[in-house]
Symmetry: C2
Subunit: 362 residues, 2 copies
DNA sequence: TTGTAAGCGTTATCAT
DNA sequence: ATGATAACGCTTACAA
C-alpha cells in the first residue's frame, strides 16, 4: 500500500498546484530513456526489451506517474467516454439498464456519463445536439418524448445507438426488445394455464409504437392465436405505470361486470398494484386470479407471491448497444455482421420467468 | 434546425476522419481575428467589443465550431468530470442519490461518471486508488464495504467528499444524514399518535455505525424519551432490507406473543412488506397497526395506504456534496464556512413525511 | 530497439 | 480591445 502520504496512483491534480503531476518526460529522465520509450511501455508496445521495460516501470512506480488522459485524448481525438441518454434514472427499468451499460462499458475500457432527460423533449434534443462538448465518443439514446416523427433528429455526425421502441428507422444502429412477442408469450401462458378471461392492465389507447402499444398488440395477437375472443371490458387503460395505477385499474376491473381470471400487467409496478387490489378483496393470487408482469424488475421476486414476469433481456440490450457503439467509434465497417453503409437492427429476445403469481401449465 | 446534413453542433468526430472537426484557428481565420479573440468570445471574456463578438459568433455558427474539450482540459488541468462511487445503482436509494447528484453537477457545469462498486471491497478501494486515469477532478464516495477501520483509505491526494454513515473522520469532507434523529422522530411520532407497542423492523444485531445501527439507536432513544420500556420481543432483525424480508419479519412479529400496534421499518421496502403481511391477515393499516418507513423512496407514496416515511434529505446531500467538491477542486480555502486545513462535516436534516399509514396525532 | 521532434487545440502571458 | 506565441503532456512518423 505504499507510503502513507503518497496514496496510490493519484487522480487529477487540483489546478491550484497542490500536486504537480509527474510527466512522461520526468519518468524518461529518471529511467535514462526517451519519452517515446516510456510511451511504448505505458501502451504495452511489443518491441521493448525486458530490461528497458523494467527500468521504466521502476521509474514509473517510484515517481507515481499516471498518464494524463486529457493529453492522450487530445492527441488521439477520443475520450473513452460514452453518454447514456435515458428518461429517468430513478425508474427501476432505467437504473437497471444504466447499471448494465456501465458494466459492459467497463469491460471495454469505456466510461459512461448518464444523462437523464427527465421527461423533457428539450432535454432529449439537447442531449443529441446540444453543444455537449466533444466529451463523448458516442451516445446510446433511449428516447421517450421523441417519437417516430422526430426521426430526423437522429441524423447526427457521431456514433449513435438507438434503443427502445419509440422510433424505428434504418438510418441508425438500433437495439430493440421484444415487446410484442413478450406480451404475447405472457398472455399465451396464462391461457395455457387455464385462464379464459385474461385482462390487460396499463393500455394507452390509440398508441401504436412505444412499449404500451406494442405490448397491447402482443396481448391481442395471443388471444387471436388461441381462439379467444377479444373483450373490450377486460382492457384497463392506465396512463402512468406506477403501483397505484395498477391498484386503481384492477379495482375498476373487479368492479366491472366481466371478472377476469388472469391479468397481464404491462409492467411490474402495475402488476404489484393489481395483486394488492386482488388480495385486498380476499381473493387469492394465483388461485382466483393469475397475474403476470413485464420487465422482471429486481423487486418482482420479492412480492407475495413472487411475480411471474417477462424478462426483456436488458443484459443483451446493454451488451449489444455498447459493443456496436464501440465498433462504430473504432470505425469498424463491419459491425455485428452488417456491412458498410448499413445499420444494425437487433431485437433482443425476451423470456418468461415463471414464479408464484401464475398457475402451472395444465 | 439548420441544414439537414450538418446536424446541430456536433460532438466528437470519430477518429476515422469521418468528420474533421473545426478548430479555433479556422474560426479565427473566417472571422478575420486572432485565435485569442475567438477564445475570449467562447469563454465569455468581458472585454470584447460587441462588433467582434458578433463577427466571431457568426463564424462559429457558420462553421459549426465546437470547443475541443480534450484540448481545454489539457490546458486547464481539469476535466469537468467527477466520479460518484456508490454500492449499487439499482437500489432505489442510490439511484435517487445519483439522479440528484447528476442534476446538481449539471447546474455547476460538471459531468458525473457513476461507478457502482457492487458490494465489493476491492471495488471500493479500486475506485479510490485504482489507476483511474486523472479523468476525474474529484470523487464523491459512498462506502458500504469499507468501514471505520479503513479510514486511512480515505487519505487521498485529490478532492474527495465522503457521504453516508459508515465512516467518521475529520480528515475528509463529509456529508451525513440524520439516521439517529430520523428514526427517533419516526418512533416518537408513532408513540404520540397513540401507539404503545412499537416494533422495529430490519435491525442488524450488534451493528453500531451504519444505517441499521444508527436507526435502531434512534428507535431506542425515542422509547426512552417517551418513558416506554424497551421490549426485546418487538425487535425484528433482518439482514437484507428487501420487501420479502419485511414480510417475513412482520409475520414473525405477528406470530409472537407481543403484538405491536405500530411498526418502525428501517427502510421503505421493509415497510412495504410489513404492510402486506399485516393486510394479509385481515388487519388494517393504520387502524390496527401503524407503519412508518425510512428513505421516503419514490414508491412509498404509491402504496396502499400511502406510506408515512422519513425523508433523509437526499437533495441536500447531493447539493452539499457536489458544492463542497467543486469548491475543493477550485482550490477554495474556505468551504461552507470552514477555514483552511479543516474539513467540512455536515449532517443533513431529515423530515417526517406523514401519509396514510399512520394515525393522526392525538 | 530506441531517440527526435512535430503537432493535437486550447488558454494565458505578454505586448501593443 | 486584440494579437503573437509559448506551453499543457501525449502519440507517432521518421530517423538512427
Amino acid at each position: 500500500m505504499k507510503t502513507k502520504s503518497s496514496n496510490g496512483g493519484g487522480l487529477a491534480k487540483s489546478l491550484d498546484g497542490a500536486t504537480k503531476s509527474v510527466t512522461m518526460r520526468e519518468v524518461a529522465q529518471a529511467a535514462g530513456v526517451s519519452v517515446k520509450t516510456v510511451s511504448n511501455v505505458v501502451n504495452d508496445y511489443e518491441h521493448v526489451s525486458e530490461a528497458t521495460r523494467r527500468k521504466v516501470n521502476t521509474a514509473i512506480e517510484k515517481l507515481g506517474y499516471v498518464v494524463n488522459v486529457s493529453a492522450r485524448n487530445l492527441r488521439l481525438g477520443q475520450t473513452g467516454v460514452i453518454s447514456l441518454v435515458i428518461p429517468d434514472l430513478q425508474l427501476p427499468y432505467f437504473a437497471q439498464l444504466s447499471s448494465l451499460v456501465i458494466g459492459e462499458a467497463k469491460k471495454l475500457g469505456l466510461h459512461v456519463i448518464v444523462e437523464p432527460t427527465l421527461y423533457s423533449r428539450e432535454g432529449e434534443i439537447d442531449a443529441l445536439h446540444g453543444s455537449r462538448q466533444n466529451l463523448f465518443d458516442g451516445v446510446i439514446f433511449s428516447p421517450l418524448e421523441l417519437g417516430q416523427e422526430d426521426v430526423d433528429q437522429l441524423k447526427v455526425d457521431y456514433p449513435l445507438v438507438l434503443i427502445g421502441e419509440r422510433i424505428f428507422t434504418n438510418t441508425v444502429d438500433h437495439v430493440a426488445t421484444e415487446n410484442v412477442e413478450g406480451a404475447k408469450r405472457a398472455t399465451s401462458y396464462l391461457i395455457q394455464s387455464g385462464c379464459r378471461r385474461v385482462a390487460v392492465l396499463g393500455v394507452h389507447p390509440g398508441e401504436k409504437v412505444g412499449s404500451a402499444g406494442l405490448r397491447f398488440q402482443g396481448y391481442r395477437e395471443a388471444l387471436e392465436e388461441n381462439g379467444i375472443e377479444f373483450d373490450e371490458r377486460l382492457v384497463a387503460p392506465a396512463g402512468m405505470w406506477h403501483r397505484v395505477d395498477g391498484v386503481n385499474a384492477m379495482n375498476e376491473l373487479l368492479d366491472g361486470d366481466a371478472r377476469p381470471d388472469g391479468v397481464v400487467a404491462l409492467n411490474d409496478m402495475l402488476a404489484s398494484g393489481a395483486m394488492h387490489a386482488i388480495q385486498m378483496r380476499g381473493l387469492k393470487v394465483p388461485d382466483d386470479i393469475s397475474v403476470i408482469g413485464f420487465d422482471n424488475s429486481d423487486d418482482s421476486q420479492y412480492l407475495s407471491p413472487p411475480l411471474s414476469s417477462i424478462a426483456p433481456g436488458l443484459e443483451a440490450v446493454a451488451r449489444l448497444s455498447v459493443r456496436v457503439l464501440r465498433d462504430r467509434i473504432d470505425g469498424k465497417t463491419d459491425v455485428l455482421g452488417v456491412g458498410p453503409g448499413r445499420h444494425v437492427f437487433r431485437k433482443v429476445s425476451s423470456a418468461l420467468v415463471v414464479r408464484g403469481s401464475t398457475k402451472p401449465l395444465e
